[in-house]
Symmetry: none
Subunit: 207 residues, 4 copies
């Protein structure tokens, strides 16, 4: 029965001065919390604890929770866009394209996080105009990448299919076979126009 002083929010009291990317650390922590606790669980306190940062630091760097949310999602989209780009980097043949898409869809622990964040963003965007703009830009940029390989209309269709498959993969309890995913993706790609595959099958291409 000690008297510990106010509440257990002392994060260790180290004198962490000069922490230039504290802002980014907070954003990443916010995304972590968002993945684990959902939108409703993303509070100043949770984020601060996750970032190992004093509570005031979060309100200091971000004008409010809405802004924190917006910037966190913005960071997510930036990172995710880069990942998406990289995924198709060096893809030349239809087979490689399909394989890249299967990578995208097939649930790996790493993909789980971005899948959850993506859907959180989509849902949040329904009620926040700023986020809606962000979500649309993200979707557009994704489809533009896909459109390098298939036509624009096919890209939209493919993107929708991927979105749905990712959601299904997210919710499925049992492990899903990669082959099933590949078959589904392949069938969808099959129908797409030929445009955009610089190399014929089997041809090697150094990016």
């Amino acid at each position: 029965m000690t008297l510990p002083g106010p509440r257990a929010q002392d994060t260790g009291r180290r004198p962490r001065r000069h922490d230039p990317d504290r802002r980014v650390r907070i954003l990443d922590a916010a995304l972590d919390v968002l993945v684990e606790q959902g939108m409703a669980g993303m509070t100043h306190r949770q984020v601060a604890a996750r970032a190992d940062v004093p509570l005031g630091s979060v309100t200091y760097h971000f004008a409010g929770l809405a802004e924190l949310r917006a910037q966190a999602f913005t960071r997510f989209v930036e990172l995710q866009t880069a990942v998406f780009e990289a995924l198709f980097d060096g893809v030349g043949t239809r087979e490689e394209f399909v394989e890249a898409l299967v990578d995208l869809v097939h649930a790996s622990p790493a993909r789980q996080r971005s899948a959850v964040l993506g859907f959180e963003l989509h849902l949040a965007a329904l009620r926040d105009p700023g986020l809606r703009v962000l979500a649309e830009a993200w979707t557009r940029s994704s489809q533009e990448v896909l459109a390098r390989f298939v036509g624009a209309a096919d890209a939209a269709r493919l993107d929708a299919l991927l979105e749905g498959m990712i959601m299904h993969a997210l919710l499925a309890t049992g492990p899903r076979s990669r082959e099933a995913a590949r078959a589904a993706v392949a069938k969808a790609v099959e129908l797409s126009g030929e445009a955009g595959f610089p190399r014929t099958q089997g041809e090697n291409h150094v990016r």
Copy 2:
């Protein structure tokens, strides 16, 4: 100075109607709130206000917010399953099938609500095992309906595509052409096996 007991109270005389289906009214109100405010906004107070019911009524009929959520989603799935069944009632040809799917996807004010609820359920299911069971059952039942017309694997693929298209439709700001949606759906159905279409194309069917 009497023993206070936890509380002392004087109920504010108000007509206390016996209301047999109040429970269902509360569930519908909960779904309304969920659509408009999102999961975080679905509070006892909001739901009570929406159902035009005193606060205590919500906590009386449901043991907790978790149960209210669960039962609301359960009701949603029940209703939605019926709607889904009805949509394909009388569908005989591939053309009719495609048209039904386009109805499903194309954003009408009426579909908006169920689309949002569906995605809210999917997201909530990520963190609630009970809801996950419900979501899986719903997905399974939907795919079983689709599987009457195309093969099981195609049904899963089609379902994913629809899911993605619905989400895209939900987020799109501008109005989307019904033709674009039809084209995308048609292409996906094209690839499916012939199984399940009792009538040949062009054949007339009196609904």
Copy 3:
């Protein structure tokens, strides 16, 4: 995810008609709850559940929580007075007297209950005039019993000692030796006047 109807307060729905001593069952249940949960935990619902009686039955038989409390304590005092009387029934010698007192003090599972209730009553009586009257009557009656064996002043002193020993026994974690209790009681009785012991030591007496 079943729809169990309102809340889990259905006590089994047997048609318990003609239950003449339901009132007493409720009182005993109230005392049980009081022992286990404390004053703050003695709610209508807890009592009803404990008595295996519908919620409305408690409010039907008792005008309010205050009355339920009062009547429960009244019942407790009645029962306890009888027990107290019985304890000294047949006590003739100083040794028997001491032994009876030690029985009273020494913590047995059975005594635990009445000890707790007694202290709850004392504390509640501090703020409820009605209970204060009851508590005083109880104290007076106890001391009158003791005064049959020792003088009135000694009875008051003895009663206080017993009260304190009971409280200490209640709080002690380790088991207390009966001998220690006997020694303490004996010493207190030693000082008392001779009045009231009809039999000399060793003499047999059929009540």
Copy 4:
């Protein structure tokens, strides 16, 4: 329709004083409320009102009602231990010892408060392990003080007697004669061993 987040708020501009010993003020207020309203009446709101502090201040400084209770009782025991020590400071003769004990027992408005708190602590300790530890430590320390004047066993007996007399004094409606209390205490002390009285009776002692 912006994302609502859990809440949106506008603090109602009020002077926000930095108040370093607000924590202690809250604890004292909690003890005041406890004396007047009993355990069940000791709510956040009552305490806040009593301490003239906003509601949030109580929950800010104490993690929960249980902790508030625990720390309030801890403070009570600390203060009371000091008072108890001071009471016997300078006591040298058996007469002074008795007189000190009578001071302890005889109901003065000042003692009323600590007596009530003491019994509340004892009762609360029955169901709270942390408080039980505290109560036991308190009892032990009290008896150790008494044991400076009488033997250990006698100290326990004396302590029990005092406890009982305090409770009786607390409940008695009419004023009790100090002489009666002195007589009872004197008789109990009479039986105790001689150990611990540095000065013989009648000897004068300059405090």
